[in-house]
Symmetry: C2
Subunit: 408 residues, 2 copies
């Protein structure tokens, strides 16, 4: 018998209890033992819940109960989630979480405690919601040296960009539509400014490259500056604009990590990922490109991933050897943003083709209907961030847009 505590009874928390209940029989068969939710922690009252006798407001009851094997943290936020999770691991309990903020900020520390205590710290649901990605990455692709990862990691921004592309909406209108449909929160900043995608690519990069990449080390741009004009040029380029979290092994031994809107070629498996869907491409030296696609959020998909982790935690009583990365206060292994190299889409005004070619060399021009006469748009060859910024600054005209072009 594995006894479980669920911290938080919001969307994912209530979904987790629901899925555990609904599929009890098949889950217990898979876990090889009965599974019982003994406690649900929430500060609110749920007098009408069928589980009302399981509720507690006192975490001490949970962490001090030797019967509890698995603590499931689905509260979100850094505090008190971090304190609760740490205390659970130190008490020798396995922890399952969907909390990307927690894992991105404290993953290395919590994994080290889990290893020391020989318990599990699982977080499949923290990236890609219901899409299996964490476990495939460290188990199924273990023969690979991961060369790069690129993902559409945030459904809200992907929905907004899809509306901008399909319906020619400007950003603000697309955001309002997303808010009306409940796809974007009233305060959408964590989504549209890229913070959420940044946490997720930090988790994936830490796992793939073995050292904790902290969000502060990652240049993060959201989608607020993307305009319908850029969408039109991207169509002429033959691709789609997507908000991409990406991490790449560099020849100098460092890794490049960034979150930014990007032009993605139409042939890419990421280009056709629309609406609120997520997809993650993993590029391995042995397996080549593998893509994982599905719903990156939502009550049941996320709860499903949490519950699958619970089943595996119930089965395996020792710490996972492959789900691990080292801590690293020194973030020098993360390449400085200014040195990161890729092609750029530039939209300029007041610049002639001659000036552009003098400054950027070979460029590939893009066109759109009804562009003002003094607008010029093109794709550069590969340039570092700094080179690109310096060249733009050296031109007499002004830079209306600078969006990276990624080969994923």
């Amino acid at each position: 018998m594995a006894k479980i505590a669920v911290l938080g009874h919001g969307v994912v928390g209530s979904g987790t209890v629901e899925v555990l209940e609904k599929s009890k029989q098949s889950l217990e068969k898979k876990a090889g033992q009965p599974l019982e939710v003994k406690y649900i922690l929430d500060l609110r009252d749920f007098p009408d819940s069928p589980y009302k006798e399981k509720f507690t407001k006192d975490y001490g009851v949970i962490v001090n109960d030797p019967e509890i094997d698995i603590v499931t943290e689905v509260m979100g936020g850094l505090h008190p989630a971090y304190d609760y999770v740490k205390a659970a691991l130190l008490a020798g309990k396995s922890v399952v979480t969907s909390n990307k903020e927690l894992v991105a900020a404290k993953g290395a520390e919590l994994l080290a405690i889990a290893r020391e205590k020989n318990v599990n710290f699982f977080f499949e649901a923290s990236v890609g919601g219901g899409i299996p990605i964490i476990r495939p990455l460290h188990q199924c692709l273990s023969a690979d040296k991961i060369m790069g990862i690129a993902g559409i990691l945030n459904g809200t921004t992907n929905y907004i960009l899809t509306k901008m592309i399909r319906d020619n909406m400007p950003f603000d209108t697309a955001l309002s539509t997303a808010q009306q449909l409940g796809y974007a929160e009233r305060d959408p900043s964590a989504d549209i400014e890229g913070t959420d995608a940044c946490r997720k690519i930090c988790i994936l990069a830490s796992l793939a490259f073995g050292k904790h990449v902290y969000p502060d080390s990652v240049h993060t741009e959201g989608i607020t500056a993307v305009t319908p004009e850029d969408v039109e040029y991207c169509e002429n380029f033959g691709g789609s604009i997507k908000l991409i979290g990406w991490a790449q092994r560099l020849d100098n031994g460092k890794i490049a990590v960034m979150v930014c809107p990007a032009f993605i070629a139409g042939e890419s498996q990421l280009a056709g990922v629309n609406d609120v869907f997520n997809a993650i491409m993993v590029r391995g030296d042995t397996t080549g490109d593998v893509v994982f696609y599905g719903k990156g959020a939502g009550k049941l998909p996320t709860a499903g991933a949490v519950v699958a982790d619970i089943v595996i935690a119930a089965k395996s009583h020792s710490s996972s050897r492959t789900l691990f990365w080292e801590d690293s206060e020194d973030q020098d292994f993360v390449e400085k943003p200014e040195n990161i190299v890729c092609r750029h889409y530039l939209r300029l005004s007041g610049v002639t083709k001659e000036q552009a070619e003098q400054t950027f060399g070979n460029v590939k021009y893009l066109v759109r209907a009804s562009a003002p006469e003094d607008e010029l748009a093109f794709i550069t060859e590969e340039l570092s961030e700094k080179e690109c910024a310096d060249k733009c600054a050296a031109l007499s005209g002004s830079t209306l847009a600078n969006i990276r072009v990624l080969d994923y």
Copy 2:
């Protein structure tokens, strides 16, 4: 120390030894112990191989060596692979295989022996080559009731169909091109007639639904009858023709399993899977649609999947609880093909619209440039195979094509 024997030194076998050697350090870290290939079994001589001292032609040496923990079978074919694998499991050794013919024919029996002996029988590489699908299906999606699976499971036929679609090639020319490029074998029948895809959907269906589905129970059609005319009509439909292996939970408690060319709508994540790539969509009641995409064959991708299985077999000394299905001589749980229901694309000659509508009711007509005057093409509503065949037979004209339209 885990000692390994590799049976077969063909493409996948030599790739397996190569990957084990190349990534030795990181693999041993993941496995928590040294990994050593002690034997390679092959009837041929490899006097120039750097591993020549490991070769043996006598399987008895391997199966009777108590030092061997893991037998890796990458010979292909049913015999002697089956005999060797069974003997290894009975001798208490874990087995890793890439052999879809073996797993599709004998999976249930071998899984039962593995469970009895408390060793592992792993076969991630048998479906989708380097794409993680077996482990995600039984571990990561364990909270789901699998409602359906649909996959582009054969790279050769997908390459041929891609050439037919993009370059307007007839089937024979596309096949020759594939053969010239080494994507199709000189005897391409296992690919183009659907046998290979059938073995793979049998493995996936057995795992997803818990009972062994034998290839003989599965209606299997290849792509030899697909014509450029059908490709054109599919374009007008707004989709792509793909060879799909699919399995679906039915309301009557049975499952439908089939391999056939199918019209797939353009919005589907399967529609954009081109060339030799594979993709598998899994439809869960909790997670919704999840898609796994990548290279379904090739030396290194397949070897990578084999090696990942070896690492996990080295780590976990007890039989997997979730990678299992029951045997079932009685295949009544597999719906008879004649009762399987879906929409159909029909191309008829000598039939008027009036006759078509009298017989089929509501239909959606398709058009193509330069169609003969007496040709009629349309999509039916949902019909069983039998109803569709009966209705076609009742018409005075002749049926030129009958291709299923699938909602994946």
